[in-house]
């Protein structure tokens, strides 16, 4: 799927005879550029510029050639020059075209579109530009201009189906469904009887696409829906995508309330894929049996006799059988065969039942499995024995009976110490009890039993990272990576877009940052010792800890930034497909990608990185605010210089330098990277802006009302001093979680704190915010705001539930000075008693300092 990037208009206006030497040379230079011989092209351009340093097209082409040879800064300056000249003396179509290509390479798509458009406006006759424009407008979601350029291109090249398909899609994106269908129909008429076998697949996709359009246009109009059905019948023999065809047919029947017809289609679908849960659920609905438990069960028995090897007919009845005896019988015949076979996911398969009603389902399952466990012998039936232990461990882990969970996994391990899965589970139990290092060592034992399996390798790495054992993690992960030319696998994992690793590593670095910062703080606040030797140790320790703290903080931000870069890449990855999919003839898959493409910055792993980075950037911001100075001026290279001229200190300085160099090698994420330790990130003077440009800006643009995170939104705007926007976030939050929600109470206190005490926020802003708050929560004792003695925590539980642990933590990290920090801390510790050990230690270690 290579695409010729930037085919240039070699034929410029006018004939060769009337052209200047400059122009002729430029044509030659363009040919050299086209042939990817950038250096030769550059040379020729330079000879033109030597005679005429202001030759616009040459300036632009020089920029483009420099860009292609990796000299991006110089490229930018020549492009700048060309643009300045154009502003004063006008443009040629060729110059504009070159600039458009440059901008597209730079991923500045809207500017690229502007230059391509100028090229046309200035008289370019190169119609291919319309297609390039369409690609750019697609990427920018500019539907109006997309339609225009698709149409102009289609008018020029009607002989290609791709152009009809793209025009139809452009119509659909503009909400013109009828026009879209008409374009598709017109092509079908023209092509009737002329399509060969090699075009049959594309034809099938386009026919189904037209049915999509008709279906969308039909809405709930029965007459139109019947037309959709008729269309389906007409295209049946030409459509290869039977799943798509049948699913559409069933959907139309359901909308027309022809449920019996729909049920037959669902039965056909089940026959094609008996393991798709969705078809069974839809069959139930079409048959109308949901309320009749007996009939419903009978239906599933029947389906099971048709499809004995399929999962849904076995499982779904468990979700609706009310009678305990019957349920126990069914559950037993669901679970026990799996235990006998040694299916690792037996417990996971029924976990959703536990989620639905833990006391009922867990009690019944426990009774069944314990009884079975008593009936088997470890010697005669080793496989059922060990997998039953495995099941019981998961069962008790779910119920948080850590002791019992531990007992069963130990039984299993004593029985079969060679089974990898047992180590994974034991590690999970240990993790829940807060023993992270032990968990990592345990899973590593399991890994050693199967060195070929990457799954267990990955799990082990994750556990090492959770235990902050980064070096060990990198060592293990590097077993499966390509490490040529690198100290370890970190670079390869970046190259291969391994988000899981980079995210986990970022989080480990963040925790190490917090730990080292605390140690540094302790060391700094310790008394300076009297004797010289101890003084030196003290100073060295401060110097080391300063370095480590900064290093880990920088690396955390660096890794999160890599995640942000991946998602930018995923967004850019779409570019080639705007025209590729048209040629390939896959309009439906293309539109799915197009819709997906509008949500990349709201996908789970981007959000996870964003939230991690938010914590770090907020800490940096808050520290800057508190100290009132711009912190972090000391660079990593020279941490606390020792006495000069001292031989010992010289030696030490050399040792430090060596260590930094080694660190840089082991953490390197990219081949050519001037800042492998992320110093620029951690030393930033503008943490909030950095957060916005790396994460929050893109997220906010794509997030919808429902996918927005209003707590994060609140915390961000609180730090920006935009209190009105804070109130906005609160009111959205209240719409979802209610006005009594504990977090809302915490937000209220944060906001009141800033309104009362902040010096950097002006009075008008404060007043507007308080007014907004009053409207949102009229019961608040806002008249107490000017009093010094009011206990603001008393709004819990009067106005809000709680305070919950989350609410207290939000207050804690927002430095709310109208409350006693010490008191909040005590309350958090109190609350933690109800939590499991893993959560206790996580909060104590990483959120309470």
């Amino acid at each position: 799927m290579s695409r010729r990037k930037g085919a240039l208009p070699l034929k410029t206006n006018g004939s060769a005879i009337g052209r200047s030497k400059e122009d002729n040379n430029l044509i030659e230079a363009l040919k050299l550029y086209e042939a990817k011989t950038y250096k030769k092209s550059l040379k020729l351009v330079d000879t033109i510029l030597k005679k005429n340093s202001q030759h616009i097209d040459s300036l632009a082409l020089k920029g483009l050639n420099l860009y292609c040879t990796g000299q991006k800064e110089d490229a930018a300056s020549y492009v700048e020059k060309a643009i300045t000249r154009i502003e004063s003396s006008g443009a040629s179509p060729i110059g504009c075209h070159i600039l458009g290509i440059y901008m597209r390479n730079e991923k500045r798509y809207s500017e690229a579109a502007k230059w391509f458009q100028s090229s046309l406006d200035n008289g370019s006759t190169n119609k291919q530009i319309y297609r390039d424009l369409a690609t750019l407008y697609s990427q920018e979601h500019d539907y109006k201009n997309l339609l225009k350029s698709r149409k102009l291109y289609w008018e020029e090249f009607m002989g290609y189906r791709a152009n009809w398909t793209s025009l139809a899609i452009a119509h659909e994106l503009n909400g013109q469904l009828d026009e879209s269908a008409n374009v598709l129909t017109k092509f079908e008429e023209l092509a009737k009887g002329k399509l060969g076998e090699s075009e049959a697949y594309e034809h099938n996709e386009c026919l189904m696409y037209k049915n999509d359009v008709l279906y969308k246009a039909a809405g709930v109009d029965h007459e139109k829906l019947r037309a959709v059905l008729k269309h389906l019948d007409e295209i049946e023999t030409d459509v290869f995508d039977k799943y798509g065809w049948l699913e559409r047919r069933a959907a139309v029947f359901m909308k027309l309330n022809q449920k019996v017809d729909a049920s037959k289609v669902y039965r056909t679908l089940i026959k094609r894929n008996p393991d798709n849960f969705k078809y069974y659920r839809l069959l139930e609905i079409s048959l109308g049996v949901q309320r009749d438990a007996k009939l419903r069960l009978a239906l599933y028995k029947k389906l099971e006799s048709f499809y004995p090897r399929a999962e849904p007919p076995k499982f779904i009845p468990l979700t609706f059988i009310e009678d305990d005896t019957l349920f126990a019988k069914s559950l037993s015949s669901y679970i026990l065969p799996q235990l006998k076979r040694g299916v690792p996911a037996t417990f996971n398969n029924i976990k959703p039942l536990y989620k639905k009603n833990v006391s009922r389902y867990s009690a019944i399952a426990e009774e069944i499995v314990l009884k079975y466990f008593d009936s088997i012998s470890p010697k005669e039936t080793p496989i059922p024995y060990v997998w039953t232990c495995y099941f019981l461990c998961q069962h008790f882990l779910y119920l948080k009976s850590f002791q019992k969970a531990r007992e069963y996994i130990e039984l299993a391990l004593a029985h079969t110490p060679t089974l990898v899965e047992l180590y994974i589970l034991k590690a999970r139990v240990l993790k829940h009890t807060g023993l992270l290092a032990e968990a990592a060592e345990t899973i590593n034992e399991g890994r050693k039993l199967d060195l070929q399996d990457r799954f267990i390798n990955t799990k082990t790495v994750k556990y090492y990272l959770r235990a902050n054992m980064v070096e060990k993690a990198v060592e293990v992960v590097s077993i499966f990576t390509k490490n040529e030319g690198a100290a370890n696998g970190v670079m390869d994992l970046h190259l291969m877009e391994a988000s899981w690793f980079i995210t986990e590593q970022a989080e480990a670095y963040f925790r190490l940052y917090i730990e080292n910062k605390r140690l540094l703080h302790d060391e700094k606040s310790a008394e300076v010792p009297e004797d010289e030797d101890s003084q030196e140790t003290h100073a060295r320790r401060i110097r080391d800890l300063t370095y480590e703290t900064k290093k880990f903080g920088g690396l955390a931000l660096k890794r999160w930034d890599s995640i942000s870069k991946f998602y930018k890449q995923f967004e850019d990855d779409q570019l080639d497909f705007h025209s590729y999919c048209m040629r390939k003839g896959v309009p439906r898959a293309y539109l799915e990608m197009y819709q997906w493409g509008k949500t990349v910055y709201t996908l789970p792993m981007f959000i996870r990185a964003m939230k991690g980075a938010a914590r770090m950037y907020f800490i940096l911001n808050d520290e800057m605010e508190l100290s009132g100075r711009e912190t972090n001026d000391d660079t990593i290279e020279e941490p606390v210089s020792a006495k000069k001229g001292n031989k010992k200190s010289k030696k030490e300085a050399a040792a430090i330098k060596k260590r930094i160099e080694e660190d840089k090698k082991t953490v390197a994420a990219y081949e050519k990277d001037e800042d492998p330790l992320g110093e620029a990130f951690i030393s930033s003077k503008t943490p909030l802006q950095d957060f916005y440009s790396q994460f929050y800006g893109s997220f906010s643009k794509e997030a919808t009302e429902s996918s927005k995170d209003y707590i994060l939104d609140f915390e961000y705007h609180l730090r920006c001093g935009k209190l009105a926007l804070c109130v906005g976030a609160m009111s959205k939050y209240a719409e979802i979680y209610g006005k009594k929600d504990s977090i809302l109470g915490a937000m209220t206190l944060c906001l009141l704190d800033r309104a009362k005490l902040s010096k950097k926020i002006d009075e008008v802003t404060k007043k507007i915010a308080i007014k907004g708050l009053e409207r949102l929560l009229p019961e608040l004792p806002l008249n107490q705001l000017d009093e010094g003695s009011f206990d603001w925590l008393s709004i819990f539980p009067q106005e809000f539930e709680g305070p919950s642990l989350d609410a207290l933590l939000l207050i804690h990290r927002s430095t709310v000075e109208i409350l006693s920090a010490e008191n909040i801390k005590q309350q958090i510790i109190e609350k933690l008693r109800e939590e499991e050990p893993a959560i206790q230690s996580s909060v104590l270690n990483y959120q309470l300092n």
């Binding site: 049959a200 029947k302 004995p308 976990k351 990955t458 877009e497 995210t503 390939k584 789970p604 939230k611």
Partner: protein, 227 residues
């Protein structure tokens, strides 16, 4: 819920890439996954859990590990999750042969990658995924045969392909893999009718797709079936 098998969409591709990175040494850039799903949209399949959001304790732990607050967001920040409650545990990534350097008379499908998370093995997930993919390659893309490579040391995979799915070993390709291991090049001839997934259910009876299911059930006696 347990595992459901369905056709893959663009929304699954990041999770598929993650599963591949978790399970196998041969990895691809995201764009290569896009290229598959946008060139042969009907050829690839995924196995996902439905409605299985994990225990509340798990969710809280994940959030804490992620360093964010305690509140659980809509979709877990776990690279396995396609959407809330839906975790990808296996996939098959398939394509048609489009390599111009290997022109082939017969239309040939190719299995680019197949894997199932270790904790979801022994449930026949890989077989079910493969059966759907082979059926699709044959029915939608008119593939007459399908090819794949498998590591010589991967006994479980070899068993699946050779014994269960009836592929034949064409030859051994020396040092096919980056780490120097040899591969078996395997091939299977496809026949759409024979590939119908229902053929492998060994059901006691067949759904004729026409008769009135409910009337039949009532006639057979609901109470009896229940007992």
């Amino acid at each position: 819920m347990p595992v459901t098998i369905r056709r893959a969409t663009i929304e699954d591709m990041l999770c598929m890439q993650n599963a591949n990175l978790n399970n196998l040494p041969e990895n691809y850039l995201f764009k290569y996954y896009m290229y598959h799903i946008l060139s042969w949209p009907e050829a690839s399949f995924v196995a996902t859990t439905t409605d299985d959001v994990g225990g509340p304790a798990d969710a809280v732990l994940e959030e804490l590990a992620a360093g964010s607050g305690c509140r659980v967001s809509a979709t877990k920040g776990d690279p396995c999750y396609v959407r809330s409650g839906e975790k990808l545990v296996g996939y098959v990534l398939a394509k048609m042969n489009d390599d111009p350097s290997q022109p082939s008379e017969a239309l040939t499908g190719h299995i680019t990658s197949l894997s199932v998370m270790r904790t979801y093995r022994r449930m026949g997930v890989a077989e079910k995924l493969m059966r759907q993919a082979l059926f699709a390659l044959s029915e939608v893309y008119r593939a007459e045969q399908v090819s794949l490579h498998v590591r010589q040391s991967n006994r479980a995979a070899l068993h699946l392909y050779r014994d269960t799915l009836e592929f034949e070993v064409l030859k051994v390709e020396k040092s096919y893999y980056q780490d120097g291991e040899d591969a078996y090049a395997m091939k299977k001839t496809l026949d759409t009718e024979a590939l119908q997934p229902a053929n492998f259910q060994r059901g006691a009876e067949q759904d004729d797709l026409e008769s009135d299911l409910l009337a039949d059930l009532v006639r057979e006696g609901v109470a009896e079936i229940e007992a």
